[in-house]
Point group: C2
Chain length 468, copies 2
Amino acid sequence: MPDSTQPVRNDAGIAHLLPLLAQRFGDRFSAGADIRRQHGHTTTWIENQPPDAVIFPTSTGDVADIVRLAAEHRVPIIPFGTGTSLEGHVNAPHGGISIDLSRMDNVLAIHAEDLDCVVQPGVTRKALNAHLRDTGLFFPIDPGADASLGGMAATRASGTNAVRYGTMRDRVMALEAVLADGRIIRTGTRARKSAAGYDLTRLLVGSEGTLGIITELTLRLDGIPEKMAAARAAFPNLKAACDTVIATLQYGLPIARIELMDPAALAAVNAYSGLTLPEQPSLLVEFHGSETSVAEQSQTFVEIARDNGSTAFEATTRAEDRNRLWQARHDAYWAMVASRPGWESHSTDVCVPISRLADIVTATTERAAAQGIHAPILGHAGDGNFHALLLLPPEDPETRARAKDMVTWMAETAVKMGGTATGEHGIGQGKQDGLVNEAGAGLEVMQAIKQTLDPLNILNPGKIFAPR
Amino acid sequence: MPDSTQPVRNDAGIAHLLPLLAQRFGDRFSAGADIRRQHGHTTTWIENQPPDAVIFPTSTGDVADIVRLAAEHRVPIIPFGTGTSLEGHVNAPHGGISIDLSRMDNVLAIHAEDLDCVVQPGVTRKALNAHLRDTGLFFPIDPGADASLGGMAATRASGTNAVRYGTMRDRVMALEAVLADGRIIRTGTRARKSAAGYDLTRLLVGSEGTLGIITELTLRLDGIPEKMAAARAAFPNLKAACDTVIATLQYGLPIARIELMDPAALAAVNAYSGLTLPEQPSLLVEFHGSETSVAEQSQTFVEIARDNGSTAFEATTRAEDRNRLWQARHDAYWAMVASRPGWESHSTDVCVPISRLADIVTATTERAAAQGIHAPILGHAGDGNFHALLLLPPEDPETRARAKDMVTWMAETAVKMGGTATGEHGIGQGKQDGLVNEAGAGLEVMQAIKQTLDPLNILNPGKIFAPR
């Protein structure tokens, strides 16, 4: 695994650059220890690597100015949204300037007739949905955290309803970005499709700040469904739950969410919230559509679940019952963390063809148990994507080393099954060996593109690729 | 407009290379005039520019061998699927070797549980659907022609049901491609989503053979819907028809197709097929789902259409009536060509935000009439995408020049409205000025990527970018 923790700092460049930036940005520049630490924050075991300073731009022109100055002094730039990414994306392993985009938080346009909107990168998904409240429209991507839309695009985020509404790959129609030399480009258009040239929008989405800094996004919206319904079904074993997912998709049921919880996750939720949910592999499902349609979808799902051996299920179209049904899923993360007080937690994700989901989840659970790791599992089952929350005894370097090996093993196993090292968390610093294994000769193509568009390697260096 | 018709041939390289290829490929190599002419075929007014030879590889290894030899001799390579592209994509403006992939036509795997399949690039969409017949699955992208899947990926094709099922951008999960130096890469995986590194799959989709030659594709399939229904509605004016499209999408109705036909297109169909359809702006719609669902969708659509002033509509769930309803759309191309016997025809497309569809269609119709061009219009209205079939008197260079200006004007107008120079036909040779106008500074990024991945400019030179 590449050691991104070994800094190669351009101390002289940084020393020259900081006073220039301080002068240019005044109180929107900070080199204070607290704010630096906060911007090098990672939510995992990856060591915090604070930047040398943080700047809060308020315009694309500000961002371009910072990049040009940084390029001149060969100092790294690390874009920062809300800091909720999970693989060390906002760390500064080579030092440099964190660009905190949270003050670029204007919704610039809503085109209700076209079901799209234009936003600055610091707008969070919840802020956008609050802004949309009176339009009858909503932005469906929900990765859990109230992340910034720029950060979600940069990491190709998705979440619970990607099975119906896609990922950021599908939702970003157009971008404005500042390149490594300060040039500003626009990619894509507000047309719903295009065959005009290379798909630079999709190249920037998921590039984790290594090819450009996203300064504006045009996003595709959806009409708020007339009605929502929900169902929960418990299964005798994991295979029966996964077979239900497969049959549901083959049937063409337009499910909005289909989430898997394993017995360990449900046990945590029961303990946390005083519930008595069956501690068996379970699916939580949500349906969006007309009243007739969601009732029919729910009915069909229950039949499919029953055919696959589910004996305990509950379905509802009433909003309060729906919220109660989904409460288990919403509480799951904190319930799982609370299930081992004081332990370290590390969330990792992989994604496989759905036919292999039961296999890899079973193998993961067994391996974790054998390694002394508690690993409850939550899955976006409709995508073949799941999260294992690895819970480890505190200050136990040996178990931690085994957990790191396990992350590597999960990524390799997913790739062997025809899947990917990460479905939605990204590569960052934590999954670089997984990408090397997965991409093969394609990695050279990625590196060639990086070299071409960022020859000085100043855009988020040490992410995606091993440091050079 | 860049003049792609001025060849810059490497005659010496070609003279050295042809005997080597003839020896290597035997009767799978041809330099015959007929076969060369057929492979330089374009369906438009763009001049035919035949290659110097055609090779029919049967494996990825064959393709890599051809590319390595061609690179060594600096001779262009032009990938060829079925030759149904519309912007000169298969022409050989600098001479070179056409690689006809039609013999790489094996369906390599069908993963019914995962709703995906793996195919060679020469498999056509109809052949794939015939192969899938007994699986309950289908591949939904329908650009009209029975194009090869490799060609459809290379040109980012879509068609009538993109509004529901997306375009090739959304349907290609993974690729194998031969790069300009003969290296073979694999991009993407069979997982339904990934956050692992740069999206090379989406970079190759729509690159028109200029970055690599696609030698294998993994495609996402859908379950065949239980039931289909159809409706046709005529409107007093174009705006009413387009407002119906907008309201239908805002409502979240999961329409499978929503096609616009203008009075000129309907008049052509009436004359061609002896029908008496109202010669007013009309929508043809198809619904996919359960019996209950399609009946409800159809009912809702009729209500929306009525609210927008439609007085003539017809809806059906019976297969034979559905086919009769859609016959008008299926016959439209030939009916329009037949409406002006002996005239030249040129199909062009642009795509705009849906709120601007009525504006640009009206402006196009008016401008065409003023220029002496007959231009019936068919639209994939749910995407804001439409085709004008420009019909011109034969051997009339002045009208042809005005028609070319009109194509440029349509592309520029679409971009001014927030749209794109082409929704699905691609850039090829015919829309290069449109791309320059649309992409702005992004064009330099595209060119930098092209330069990096194909430094000798041997992969389909003279396409997308002006010749260099």
